[in-house]
Point group: C2
């Protein structure tokens, strides 16, 4: 409470958080409770993402403490609440790169950033790599601290000695808030981020590995983003013997970093990891002790106004999808029922930056087609996508003649998107589209701050 | 030349350099020759400091390529040239902290920064810690890169692999210039920075150590800046057995870092080094491998507009002087003859930030009194200085009653500044003051950008 006074917090300000602790975060709930007790109203909450553990936001929206939300993702109970029109102001949905741009180009000023850190020192230096709840990279936090008007680092481990690793500089810190527990770092690799070995995943991963091995692109010395989904992880597993045999070493891997990628780094298949967000608590130790595992801030990762960003250097990227359509457009934010169940994350950024962008997903997911005639929500434009790989095979855009030729020469048959689509219709029919009312409940921006898609309230 | 076009360089722009390579720098001469060949005119050269090896600037000033200079130091042939009125526009002299402020608060926009780095990678990441000319901290360079409109990293060692230590981020780099040799890093600890053991130095250092041991301040857990001059180094040597005996560990040491401080870190007498500028090539290895030796940018070191800067946390600082006067005012930029022969460096910043500021210098230096009735050039105001220690003893400001009492109780006699001054008069008389004409040749700013002192042209 004293801190709130010291920060001179007022109604209608913008507060922000990062989601490095993912489903293990406790900082947002703790801070919002204090702001609620202080009677603040009409706040804009701007988080790098919002997870299931943040469903409590519904109550704060209902009672008027939070009047606007800005995030890269929406899901769970809050997602349903928004889909059903529970909020007056449309949620602003940005990719990580677009958000990095918005907080630095004036579009989204942040009054106070509350940033979870796993250890801080009394000078105000902070890191996510040390401490009982070490979570790894502070890639979002570093940039947030540099841009917010005021930055509060929130920790459960305050050191009187100068930290032996500094991620956020004391220069970017205005206050230190010590709490009992910032969360549970072991929860950061829950859910979607665990490696899967079901037959569907294995099939798609096998097709993806075949594509990479036979697409005619020399993989050596390439920059990659492999994604953190189960399919990506298995794709890499399928590739390792090929990498070993051909003596292939990737120049660097970027994005959310998994334990799988740490193993590839240690085995010498990847020369450097550029870690904007750690998807495994094991990253903390690797970042600290492996000199080729780098913490990179989100501006360096993907701010579209930063010409030196890492996604612009990507050669090959594997991305997931909730839906992809016949024009190669991708949706990663709403399900086929129109409800929020995902996040833009770095999707738009990577797709635009990478030379070759491959979308991997099941053609049909639990009797619901992923490949449709038209995505419910346009997130990433079809022109940024080069290939789609599912359990039935590989589709490559027609203008990639040399890739198509290489695959063909290797005996790999490719399909047209339309052929794949016909399969979905044959197997599960054409599903009913969700019905919408007129009210806009969310706006998906493109990387540059333009409105790409208005998402409407679901009709009852 | 192609780079100059690519950078869209024009007459009257401001270019900048850092002086991490000190007397070993070759980047400034190489870059200026290229700009000269390109026919550029009327440039403002804004360097973190200017060394003797930069005397060639006289020619570029004479022929009109450089019309304004901004620096923390002036010496050698260029210093004489300026003192004699060789330049139309007054040189702007700022402390490191004031410069950090000026390049970020709009007072001094930098169009292109040319920053020597000992290794860079193709993404644009750079460091001073690796490579054949590794020089250590890039403390000035990091902040410069973040603030300059365009940043060129200049290196003699370009890596195709991602660097395994990143000081300047690719996000802050606009171009990479590869040259044959950035300089000679072994020259960074030449001259004033070497440890001395002449009787005069030893005597002052002994007095300084006695002061620290008996001033009544518990040295344990204190933040210090000890300075890089010979006296400071010997003071520390004299202290170590006391530190050992009393189990004293300094919290951190800040500023220019010497090999001496590295040894204190390794011996456990200092818990952390905060290195804005390395005064020994050995710092490169220490910065890289010792987790408690930190590279800090100059904004974090001493920007007065950054409330979290390190000088604000200082408990005790030892600073040098070319002159000190009866009002405790200090001059570190001109000699008794009025000619430029020094640098403000961090003097103003540290004196203002530190709780206790001790000036150490010989009372008489080569028959010239250091303690005078009035300094030739006011650089650091007397109100920021607490004690003066010379070969004849210790003077402490009267309001430090407890310090005076502690020293007295320990049998250490203190002197009044006036008593010391009378000694100088007795031994060497009152020297003639330099005579000046009306023309202002340089302006010494205070930390906040106000004019503190106008330095006039020397009369013939």
């Amino acid at each position: 409470m004293k801190l709130i006074e010291k920060l001179d917090m007022k109604d209608s300000q913008t507060i922000s958080f990062h989601h490095h602790l993912r489903e293990g975060d406790r900082v947002m709930s703790m801070v919002l409770k204090a702001l609620h007790d202080a009677g603040l109203r009409d706040l804009t909450l701007c988080s790098t993402s919002i997870m299931n553990c943040h469903d409590f936001l519904v109550d704060y929206i209902k009672d008027g403490m939070i009047s606007s939300l800005e995030t890269s993702g929406l899901r769970g109970g809050l997602g349903c609440f928004i889909s059903d029109g529970g909020m007056d102001n449309p949620v602003v949905i940005r990719s990580h790169g677009s958000r990095a741009r918005a907080v630095s180009d004036g579009e989204r000023g942040v009054d106070v950033a509350f940033l979870a850190v796993s250890k801080a020192d009394e000078l105000g230096n902070a890191t996510g790599m040390i401490g009982q709840n070490a979570f790894g990279s502070l890639g979002y936090g570093i940039w947030e601290a540099r841009n917010a008007k005021k930055t509060v680092v929130v920790t459960d481990d305050l050191s009187s000695k100068v930290l032996d690793h500094i991620s956020i500089s004391q220069s970017d810190t205005d206050a230190i808030l010590v709490i009992h527990e910032i969360g549970k770092s072991e929860k950061i690799n829950s859910g979607a981020l665990r490696i899967k070995s079901d037959p569907l995943t294995m099939r798609i991963a096998e097709n993806s590995a075949q594509f990479l091995m036979h697409c005619g692109i020399d993989l050596n010395d390439k920059a990659i983003q492999m994604g953190s989904g189960g399919i990506s992880l298995q794709t890499m597993n399928n590739l390792t013997s090929h990498l070993d045999e051909k003596n292939i070493r990737f120049k660097f891997a970027v994005g959310g970093i998994t334990n799988n990628l740490i193993q590839l780094l240690e085995a010498g298949f990847v020369e450097a990891l550029m870690d904007v967000q750690s998807f495994d608590p094991a990253c903390a130790k690797s970042l600290r002790y492996n000199r080729n595992h780098h913490e990179v801030d989100v501006n360096t990762y993907s701010n579209p106004l930063n010409p030196s960003n890492l996604v612009n250097s990507l050669d090959i990227a594997i991305l997931s999808a909730l839906e992809i359509d016949l024009d190669w457009n991708v949706n990663v934010i709403t399900g086929s029922d129109g409800r929020f169940r995902g996040a833009v994350g770095g999707h738009q950024d990577v797709a635009e930056g990478s030379n070759l962008t491959i979308v991997v997903a099941p053609l049909i997911r639990g009797r619901i087609p992923v490949l449709t005639d038209k995505v419910n929500t346009l997130v990433t434009k079809g022109k940024e996508v080069d290939a789609f790989i599912c359990e039935y095979g590989i589709a490559v855009k027609e203008d990639h003649e040399s890739i198509l030729r290489s695959l063909n020469d290797s005996g790999i048959k490719t399909l047209q998107l339309r052929e794949m689509y016909n399969k979905t219709v044959k197997y599960v029919g054409i599903p009913t589209k969700p019905e919408y009312s007129d009210k806009t409940v969310a706006i998906v921006q493109d990387r540059y701050g333009n409105t790409l898609t208005e998402i409407k309230q679901l009709a009852r």
